[in-house]
């Protein structure tokens, strides 16, 4: 089995498992009236997911380029920053501080300029500060959105 076909089998399998979970919950939970529409959808969902899985196993599901190793490795640091920012930092540090740090880290990780370049750091810090100032003006001053303050801001 090629890497691409294996990926299609795994992704189709995950979708089939979700469909099975939806069907199981829809047909076992009460009150039955509240799950009438979910049951209807679950029947189509699991049928299509089953068909898709069979197509993947037999090598017929070829749509989608799948994940390539280097691309996935490139994504990981950015994804990690997004997860830490949203699930942990935003509430504990404060929405604006956490967003400023996340912006700067993502900018730095993916900026081709070397980390030792002082001018690149100055440019990154200025752009981050300007962008966050615009966000603050837009959301805090214009839209009056109250964000979690955390330990600072």
């Amino acid at each position: 089995m090629t890497a691409s076909r294996l990926q299609h089998v795994v992704s189709s399998g995950v979708v089939l498992m979700v469909a099975a979970l939806v069907a199981w919950i829809s047909f076992t939970q009460e009150p039955a009236d509240a799950f009438l529409f979910p049951r209807l959808i679950a029947i189509f969902f699991i049928s299509l997911a089953g068909w898709n899985f069979v197509r993947a196993v037999t090598g017929l599901a070829k749509v989608g380029e799948g994940l390539d190793g280097p691309g996935f490795v490139n994504i990981l640091p950015g994804l990690l920053v997004m997860i830490i920012h949203v699930f942990f930092a935003a509430k504990t540090l404060g929405f604006y501080l956490a967003s400023t740090i996340a912006f700067l880290i993502i900018f730095t990780i993916y900026d081709p300029a070397p980390l030792s370049n002082r001018n690149a750091w100055i440019r990154r810090i200025i752009i981050t500060a300007l962008f966050m100032a615009v966000m603050h003006a837009l959301f805090a001053l214009v839209l009056k959105v109250q964000t979690p303050r955390g330990i600072w801001f």
């Binding site: 992704s11 919950i25 529409f37 959808i41 994504i75 640091p77 967003s99 993916y110 966050m132 964000t147």
Partner: protein, 503 residues
């Protein structure tokens, strides 16, 4: 001619400022490679939440129109289509720019977009009320089938694989059922606290359209993304207008094909531009010049992809079936204000409906004016490095999702759906049918539940939902959309198989 009475609403100070801002911002976003019109409109939705419905729709409509046209700037100057709709434009546009005729290409692109766009919006103005009145005849069973049709049409036509397209629609329908069911007092599919209130449309739209693009930018790593734009020597606008007036054939082909394709739900601007380009080439006496910097190629492609915008809203505003993924996002923008397409929109909210449609007409003219004079400036902004764009979209998505209900739960949902969608897209699943399922799910369910109650007092659900000419017609359309997609998938696979065997 009801629409004429609502032109004043477009020129109210705030509305007009939003129209201007949406047009200029849309041109810049459209010119930015990697930022699709759908994502731009999705990111704007949180701001419309704080505006009056008509004002919010004006902003979204302006952004929709100008992002499609703005995509031509990067297609011509950078040879990177700003959106899939501008692929055909890059074929001749960049060749012209390399010859030092960038300004001429940009002029023709915006002028053709304007002509196509105005005719498209006029079609929207005259066709929508007729279809909306037809929608008055719909009962609960018909509305249920309409919602299902919306999901199957987009699922079948917008995806490369119809099985995965329909599966995406099913996932969207399931997501729409998560949360507390107010009618029967039941908790459904609440696995974590953040899901207790259900999935709000806005964070879902932002997550599904913005986060996969951010992750796509991450996947390029630290490679130097410096893009070289071509210089644009000044050229006479009058000469470009004269040239457009001499190119009636390609302008007509683009506008006609764009309008027809736009009205077919789920097909979208990418196909409109390519089909019009191909037809213009076939009918041209200078076939061999296409692809080498021939102005007719730009005129046909750009008039088509903007002529598509107005008609793509006809099925949306009358029958809740979006003509394109961006129109699906606009549907979300309508529903968050408690406005439902169809007769409700035109009978109960005529000011909202007509002010929005009129603003699209004025927006086309503004788009031409600002497009011509700001194109080179927009191209410069569009060259913002990828890491800045990725970080900016990520932070904007976080703030936008939070601002709707001031809830961290919405931000978790946005990120969760976005990351999930990125991986699903890698395996051929599509965001547009998923979004449609999410938006149309509650409409389908409420009409299914109410219809079932009525059916119990009559002849039973089977007769209520499956009989009657309109039910039968809608069921036929549901099956036909799936059948057509299945058939075209088979033809495509057979052709691919033959090509493989031949090589």
């Amino acid at each position: 001619m009801e629409f004429l009475g609502y032109f004043g609403g477009v020129f109210e100070p705030i509305s007009f400022l939003l129209l201007l801002g949406g047009t200029i911002g849309g041109l810049i976003l459209g010119a930015t490679p990697g930022l699709s019109p759908t994502m731009a409109v999705a990111l704007l939705i949180p701001f419309t939440f704080h505006l009056q419905p008509a004002q919010g729709l004006i902003l979204l409509g302006a952004a929709y129109t100008s992002t499609v046209a703005g995509g031509a700037v990067s297609a011509i100057l950078l040879k990177i289509p700003g959106a899939p709709a501008n692929i055909a434009t890059s074929l001749d546009g960049n060749a012209m720019a390399k010859r030092g005729e960038g300004a001429r290409a940009l002029h023709l692109s915006f002028l053709a977009s304007g002509v196509g766009g105005v005719i498209g919006v006029l079609l929207l103005i005259f066709m929508t009320p007729i279809l909306a009145q037809w929608a008055l005849a719909f009962s609960y069973s018909h509305l249920f089938w309409m919602a299902i049709l919306g999901v199957t049409v987009i699922g079948s036509l917008d995806s490369k694989s119809f099985v995965k397209g329909l599966l995406s629609g099913c996932i969207g329908l399931w997501l729409s059922m998560i949360g507390f069911d107010d009618n029967l007092g039941a908790q459904r599919f609440i696995f974590v606290d953040a899901l207790a209130g259900g999935i709000h449309i806005i964070p879902a739209l932002i997550g599904l359209f913005a986060i996969p693009q951010v992750m796509e930018m991450f996947s390029k790593g630290r490679e130097n993304a410096a893009i070289e734009a071509l210089d644009v020597p000044k050229q006479s606008l009058i000469a470009s207008i004269r040239e457009l007036s001499r190119s009636i054939r390609s302008l007509s082909i683009g506008t006609i094909f764009g309008s027809i394709i736009g009205i077919i739900p789920g097909v979208g601007g990418q196909i409109a531009g390519l089909v019009a380009y191909d037809q213009a080439r076939k009918f041209s006496p200078h076939k061999d010049k296409f692809g080498k910097g021939h102005p007719e190629g730009i005129i046909a492609a750009e008039s088509a992809n903007n002529a598509m915008v107005g008609p793509s809203l006809v099925p949306l505003l009358t029958l809740s079936i979006p003509g394109s993924p961006t129109a699906a996002v606009l549907l979300g923008g309508l529903i968050i204000h408690g406005i439902f397409p169809g007769s409700d929109l035109f009978d109960n909210h005529p000011r909202v409906a007509w002010t929005f449609i009129n603003s699209m007409l004025i927006g086309q003219i503004l788009m031409v004016v600002f497009g011509i004079y700001t194109a080179t400036w927009a191209a410069r902004i569009a060259r913002a490095p990828v890491p800045i764009m990725a970080a900016a979209v990520m932070v904007l998505a976080t703030f936008g999702s939070y601002s709707v209900q001031q809830s961290m739960g919405d931000v978790y949902i946005m990120l969760g759906l976005g990351v999930g969608m990125f991986f699903l897209e890698k395996f051929g699943f599509s965001a547009a049918p998923l979004v449609l399922g999410l938006i149309l799910g509650p409409i389908a369910e409420s009409n299914f539940t109410t219809g079932s109650l009525i059916a119990q007092a009559q002849d039973g659900p089977l007769i209520y939902f499956m009989t009657g000419p309109l039910n039968m017609f809608l069921i036929f359309l549901v099956l036909a959309s799936i059948g057509y997609s299945f058939w075209s998938n088979m033809l495509h696979n057979r052709a691919a198989g033959k090509a493989g065997a031949g090589s």
